[in-house]
Assembly symmetry: C2
Homo-oligomer: 206 residues x 2
């Protein structure tokens, strides 16, 4: 089966928080295709509108779909960066909350965890974020428990990751969880990425 993986894009997005997971999913799908396998993943960049998102450093990326018009998602990834724009947009927040009830896995990278937390989606869970923001995340959202020093925390329906490159580690973990360890390892090797594998599996059905 092909899993449709939505990646939210917004003004202020951290470029590698976006490019890393997209690359992992794209390479994994290419490698599976070499074996004649149906595409395991279809990454879809989703914007609040059809306009380009202006990421940090002025990187401009175009969405494939919008909040109002996108294929049904199996996985939703919320990247990080400067979160002011998505946090200030009630449409984005409501959409993330609505998707959280539908998808198999809801994931965040870096400061994307603040968007999940602000909707209460991390309450009662262990979670992580960029090392610089861990104290803030814990202070703002005492109903979650921040885990330091891991690339990602898999609490089943919700998976959070550390900063920037940790999103690559986490997406490789999602390839392992949703497809196979073998494909995740091949993908890391194809990307010449030193995959830490350093994460916390906090139960698959919390």
């Amino acid at each position: 089966m092909t899993r449709t993986v939505g990646i939210l894009i917004f003004d202020g997005i951290e470029v590698l928080d976006l490019g890393g997971p997209f690359e992992v999913l794209s390479v994994a799908t290419r490698l599976a295709g070499r074996d004649g396998e149906a595409a395991p993943f279809q990454p879809v960049l989703i914007g609040a509108s059809g306009a380009p998102a202006v990421g940090r450093g002025g990187f401009r990326v175009l969405p494939h779909a919008t909040l109002d018009d996108h294929p049904p998602l199996d996985v939703l990834i919320v990247p990080g960066g400067v979160m002011d724009a998505p946090l200030a947009d009630p449409r984005v927040r409501e959409w993330v909350r609505a998707q959280s009830a539908r998808v198999e896995v809801l994931a965040s990278i870096c400061t994307g965890a603040f968007l999940l937390a602000s909707e209460g989606l991390l309450d009662g869970r262990r979670a992580t974020t960029h090392w610089e923001d861990q104290v803030d995340l814990q202070a703002q959202f005492p109903a979650l428990t921040v885990v330091p020093d891991v690339a990602w925390v898999d609490s089943g329906a919700v998976v959070t990751s550390g900063g920037i490159s940790a999103g690559i580690d986490m997406t490789l973990h999602l390839v392992e969880r949703l497809h196979s360890r073998a494909l995740a390892e091949r993908t890391a090797r194809q990307m010449e990425f030193r995959w830490s594998g350093q994460g916390l599996r906090d139960g698959v059905n919390p």
Copy 2:
């Protein structure tokens, strides 16, 4: 001084070959700014035209400038991916050759080395590319010497790197070479990237 770093974008570009170096330069500049320092780098995405480049997996990124209209470059990075489009475009090839005579450093990531090699810019040099393509690069261009098992080869005016994530390693090396080891290390830590530092310094004035 601010160095303007051009990154060539084209249809078929590998997303992380683009996003990785852009992120390194952008994060390094942000961290330097925290210390009140002038921006060390200004990354500029340069397209053959002003149209979005459609990278692998359907990722669409907008250029900041075009071959005919861009600021003077101090560094030019040629990413990899499917190289058919840039190799088939005489304007792109001629522009890369012309820039090679002007910039302080010409760099390639992954299969971007094929574009440099096709213009003779790697003749007599040691160079590297994605591990899957090393045999082809050597066979097609016997005047260069392929080095396996390194993230990058710095031959002074020209720096080449291995596949995909190796472009991050290489760009961190450029931050070290053009600014400082301290800033490169801070950038890697900010990105939570496990920087190998595994490269070959082949002389700075070959």
